[in-house]
């Protein structure tokens, strides 16, 4: 295969590609992690409010004092 053709064996460039790949990968993973944790926090908050809120099956305790 001729040099310069696809897979021709010539290497053009170096660190600039490395920085873009690592920068974008860390940015995407970081942003996605934050989004996932925000939604998780909301879900856990909603879950705990359901557990603590009174319902027909779990009526509030009358105060005897």
């Amino acid at each position: 295969m001729e040099p310069g053709a696809v897979g021709g064996g010539m290497i053009y460039g170096g660190w600039e590609y490395v920085w873009v790949v690592y920068g974008v990968s860390w940015a995407v993973l970081g942003f996605y992690t934050v989004i996932a944790l925000v939604f998780r926090g909301r879900a856990l908050a909603a879950e705990s409010s359901l557990v603590s809120s009174p319902s027909a099956e779990n009526p509030p305790q009358e105060s005897t004092s």
Partner: protein, 230 residues
Amino acid sequence: MKWELPLIGLGAILLTIAHVWGLFIAPPEAMMGDVGRILYVHVPTAWAALVILTVSFIAAIGALWTSSYSWDAAVEAFAEVGVILTALLLFQGSLWAKPTWGVFWTWDPRLTTSAVLVVLFLGVLVLRRIVDNPEKRMTVSAVATIIAYVDVPIVYFAIKWWRTLHQPFSSPDTVDSAMVSPLRVAAFGMLFLAIGIAIARWRSIRARLHAESDAPELPDLPAPLDLGGI
């Protein structure tokens, strides 16, 4: 026990150590030079994506078997993380291909089957948004996930089954010993991070499905008013 925060923390720490190691301590690749350092993020992303999509496939079987919303939520959570990782993988690969192959993209079997994988699992996620009925959505998306998963072994073995530009499997046999350790640490880091994110997503998707199933049935809408041609 909530495992997601320790997993995300451990994954981030391991990934940081491995990337500093791979970028500044490990030697440059013999043929590619410094651009070969993309290995430490590209290969772990690929491995994590395939493992995560395998969990989605197992969850799909679990959902069909048990009709449980927990398994159904796992199908969506792991498919979503798998799509993000596979899309990231294609981006990383195309930026590695440009300096080494001379093009950002070529219709190589490994690249093509990976692109098909993103489209298939994206289809699963779209399908889940389209189908409103929870039981029907569980069944349809589980079957779609099982069908989409057929592409995972094809992606993995594409470099073995067809003539390809892509390098062979990364293993201690094909990677220099000075590069194996940072690659291994990065692989565990990426896997822990991906599983942690997927568990976090599973928790919120499961809460959404429970809220949906607890919601009261809406009454039928009244017939539209006959305005008599106005």
